[in-house]
């Protein structure tokens, strides 16, 4: 499938016109929507955390870019999570309509990998600033 076709499948009017399969159980549709909203709130929380680190934390002594090093990836991850959550919602809805197995989610992996990376960077920044 080409990239333009993949993007077209994600557009809201394409999703709403999807008449394949049967109407899923409303509870599963609601649950899918709640999962999307939960990931959206996680994305917003990451943006808040990133902004708070850059704007409100005192600078790390000896590491002038330390706050930006920690905060900016978190804000960017917020945007990535939001887009990925939407694509997963579309895929889940597609699977629900057709009675197919639910696709595997990559969101927990992305979140865990990024948080681990940020934690390691934070440790290094703290260590450097403590040694100076």
């Amino acid at each position: 499938m080409s990239w333009s076709r993949r993007l077209a499948v994600l557009l809201p009017w394409t999703v709403e016109r999807d008449t394949g399969g049967t109407e899923p159980d409303p509870r599963f549709t609601f649950a899918n929507e709640r999962t999307f909203l939960a990931w959206s709130r996680t994305a917003l929380a990451l943006v808040v955390a990133g902004l708070a680190i850059v704007q409100l934390l005192p600078p790390f002594p000896g590491v002038p870019v330390g706050r930006h090093l920690l905060g900016l990836p978190l804000i960017a991850l917020g945007a990535v999570l939001a887009v990925t959550a939407y694509t997963e919602w579309v895929r889940n809805q597609h699977a629900l309509r057709r009675g197919e197995p639910m696709p595997r989610s990559v969101l927990p992996w992305i979140l865990a990998a990024t948080v681990t990376g940020i934690a390691i960077i934070a440790g290094v920044v703290l260590l450097i600033s403590a040694l100076r």
């Binding site: 899923p24 409303p26 917003l44 943006v47 902004l51 704007q55």
Partner: protein, 115 residues
Amino acid sequence: MTAQGAHDRPGDDRGAPDPGLARERTLLSWTRTAIAFGALGGTVLKTNVMTGLIILAIAPVVWQLGRVSRGHSARADLPAVGATRLFFITVSIVAVSLLCLAVAIFGKSAPGALR
């Protein structure tokens, strides 16, 4: 998954066959999302008033989107897919992230405000 097979599937909705409860939980989820937008707007307001106000303005829109889709649905038992609403949330978060990136990079910081 069809409605007929729903009772055979384990999950958080088991034992609660009334879709009204699921609708209630989803409505609460929309409310929490609106509050999250409000909290972010309040935080940004502390560093950049204009950006904070823009984000704060999204909060009531999100709250209303969650209510409208359920309250005025012609088929009350079945949720509208509502892809446009979710697409709006996604676009809003991406836009908010870009605004916050700009604020974080170019904005004047208030170091020590958490002390």
